[in-house]
């Protein structure tokens, strides 16, 4: 539609100034009933009593309500269910997640949980999308200001404190595809070293004995342990830890069984 310009000299200049003034005056009267702004910090969006008080008609069609829960704010980490799979750190585009040791694991296989540097974090949510156990999720918490830069680094314990405050968490979680790729074994390359089974965060890899072949005359058997990993696909979270620790690159991503 062609929006043509109106004649430049209006018929009644005084009236033309009155029009905007009347519009502003109407807004002023409206704002006496309830201002369009939120009087932070006395009112907060996440406060349930405030949500009930502010009605849709007052200029906030949806600004308040359960929809607010989708907000991507500070993370909450449930240390108890974290399996140290490293997927959050791997999927972080800003490299702000570092896996640090937390007490609770056995000395040979220490438990590592994410520590997040909020000075770098871009709140993209890829880490909580990647988390296979749902223990790392984003909450509605947004108050982060601090005079001290080192306080921007949240240790796993501090993230667990956020979790214990039971803030509303982002309810939209990504579903894993049904025919997800799985980890496969290239058996002739395997040396049975047990590295994958040892480091698997879900303990879904068990080492089973393989029959030792009888050497033909003149042939030398490879020097290896005669065991092979067997992967339980239903328990596997597809974190790829086994792939990254395998010294012989005999584990690889294959199609769904």
């Amino acid at each position: 539609m062609a929006a043509s310009t109106e004649p430049k000299e209006g018929p009644n200049a005084a009236f033309l100034i009155v029009k905007p003034m009347a519009t502003a005056a109407r807004q002023f009267v409206k704002s006496l009933v309830r201002p369009s702004t939120i009087v932070y910090p006395f009112e907060r969006l996440e406060d349930p009593s405030f949500r009930e008080e502010v009605k849709v008609e007052s200029g906030h069609p949806i600004g308040v309500g359960p929809i607010w829960d989708n907000y991507r704010g500070v993370h909450a980490l449930n240390i108890a269910t974290c399996i140290s799979c490293n997927l959050c750190a791997f999927s972080c585009p800003d490299l702000c997640i570092e896996m640090v040791t937390v007490p609770g694991g056995d000395p040979k296989h220490p438990k590592k949980c994410p520590q997040i540097d909020y000075g770098k974090c871009s709140y993209c949510g890829f880490c909580s999308d990647a988390c296979p156990e749902g223990c790392l999720s984003m909450t509605t918490r947004y108050e982060l200001s601090t005079p001290n830069r080192s306080e921007m680094i949240y240790s796993p314990q501090k993230l667990h404190e956020v979790f214990e405050r039971k803030l509303p968490m982002n309810p939209i979680r990504l579903e894993r595809p049904e025919n997800e790729d799985a980890i496969r074994l290239d058996a002739p390359l395997c040396i049975g070293c047990n590295a994958c089974s040892r480091d698997c965060p879900t303990s879904c890899i068990t080492m089973v004995d393989t029959p030792k072949p009888t050497a033909k005359p003149g042939e030398k058997l490879p020097r290896r342990i005669w065991k092979e990993p067997v992967i339980n696909d239903s328990d596997c979270v597809r974190c790829g830890t086994c792939i990254s620790v395998c010294p012989k690159e005999c584990l690889f991503w294959g199609t769904h069984p």
Binding site: T5, I17, K19, A24, P61, F126, P177, G240, F252
Partner: protein, 378 residues
């Protein structure tokens, strides 16, 4: 005398420097300096997974983030030979049109404040927040959405979104009437803006100026009509055109575009109500998904096996025509990403529409260009 307007100046709306040579009150020569906000987004993209580039796209243009996500994701999907499902395309258009209104309302607020009017600024910022609330309801972010993915969008709309959207659209249409009353109904506004910053159609075409600036000069050029992408050929809307080629014309074009966007959005929410379905393409390669687990030797296989490709997309961004070029040479990262920013081109024609006017006219003229420095410098 040369004076610097910027890099820290209320006129700039960002971080750039306009050097102006004046004689008395008249602008004789100008020299725009850009690059203060250069972050090397194109180069960083070469070191990111295809989906991770989305986080950079939101920061490319900070008032129209999801439009740039749409631009990039179209090119990336073309390069990776991925076809998204229909519902994802409609949701993307929903996002882009919402973003167009949000961006134009933001422009309105900033532009009118350049003229010295305070109340419209507050109204504009208030109304923009309603759209940001909607964005937050399904993307989780208010400014950096990180919503689109190669092969679709991250999640479907939560229940009730379309009903809330209809309510907001009705509310917004009333506000647009109010905006017009405040500006076009004001003699002061008209006297200030008419015949200001004139950029005629032939100059627009010669300099490659696009978007509302081009349409305000009477040129019928809108990529949504001329080269329909996504589902724009299935919705009914009109191109916003003005013929005055001045600041008032740009104002009128943007106001009309917002009304047309509301018209598109009404059709889109109706469609989305009737057609539930998946929002992600099935059978995507594992390494294109969100959890980027270690690839192991697949990394080598990727380079050999996955078909190469090149993606080029062009969308009508709120500021003008934006292009993206993505080269897939195999592997998990794009080989090269290149963007064309409309505002960069619009700014480079600045001497055509600034020279000859008064110094006091610079803020309204530059305000009418709708400068977003994030995308100029990238």
């Amino acid at each position: 005398m040369w004076i610097n307007m910027g890099p820290q100046h209320p006129m700039t709306h960002g971080l750039w420097n306009l050097r102006v040579k004046i004689e008395g009150e008249i602008v004789k020569e100008i020299d725009p300096e850009m690059g203060f906000l250069h972050r090397g987004i194109e180069k960083i993209s070469e070191d990111r997974h295809y989906n991770e580039v989305i986080t950079l796209m939101d920061r490319t243009c900070y008032v129209a983030g999801i439009a740039w996500e749409h631009l990039y994701i179209q090119a990336a999907e073309q390069a990776l030979h991925v076809t998204p499902p229909a519902r994802a395309l409609w949701i993307r258009v929903l996002c882009e049109e919402m973003q167009r209104i949000a961006s134009h309302v933001m422009w309105y607020a900033a532009f009118v404040q350049d003229l010295g009017l305070m109340s419209p600024f507050l109204y504009g910022m208030r109304d923009r927040d309603l759209l940001l609330d909607h964005f937050q309801s399904f993307t989780g972010g208010r400014l950096t959405y990180e919503y689109m993915r190669v092969g679709g969008v991250r999640n479907d709309l939560p229940p009730g979104t379309t009903d809330r959207m209809r309510k907001t659209l009705d509310w917004l249409m009333d506000r647009f009437v109010e905006y017009d009353r405040l500006c076009m109904g004001s003699e002061i506004f008209r006297k200030r803006c008419d015949d200001l910053g004139v950029l005629k159609a032939n100059d627009c075409i010669a300099y490659g100026v696009t978007g509302p600036m081009l349409r305000s000069a009477g040129v019928r050029r809108d990529l949504r009509k001329d080269r329909p992408y996504a589902i724009y050929d299935q919705v009914d809307f009109d191109m916003a055109i003005a013929d005055s080629a001045d600041v008032t014309g740009r104002y009128l074009v943007r106001m009309e575009e917002m009304r047309q966007s509301v018209r598109i959005l009404r059709q889109v929410v109706d469609w989305l109500d009737k057609h539930p379905g998946p929002v992600m393409a099935p059978n995507l390669p594992r390494w294109l998904g969100a959890p980027y687990a270690p690839v192991g030797r697949e990394g080598y296989l990727l380079k050999r096996n996955y078909p190469k490709g090149v993606g080029l997309s062009a969308i009508e961004e709120p500021h003008g025509e934006a292009n993206a070029y993505v080269v897939n040479e195999g592997g998990e990262h794009p080989y090269r990403v290149k963007f064309r920013s409309p505002v960069y081109v619009n700014l480079s024609a600045a001497h055509k529409y600034l020279v000859g006017y008064h110094v006091a006219d610079i803020p309204p003229i530059m305000g009418s260009v709708d400068v977003c420095v994030g995308e100029v410098d990238r």
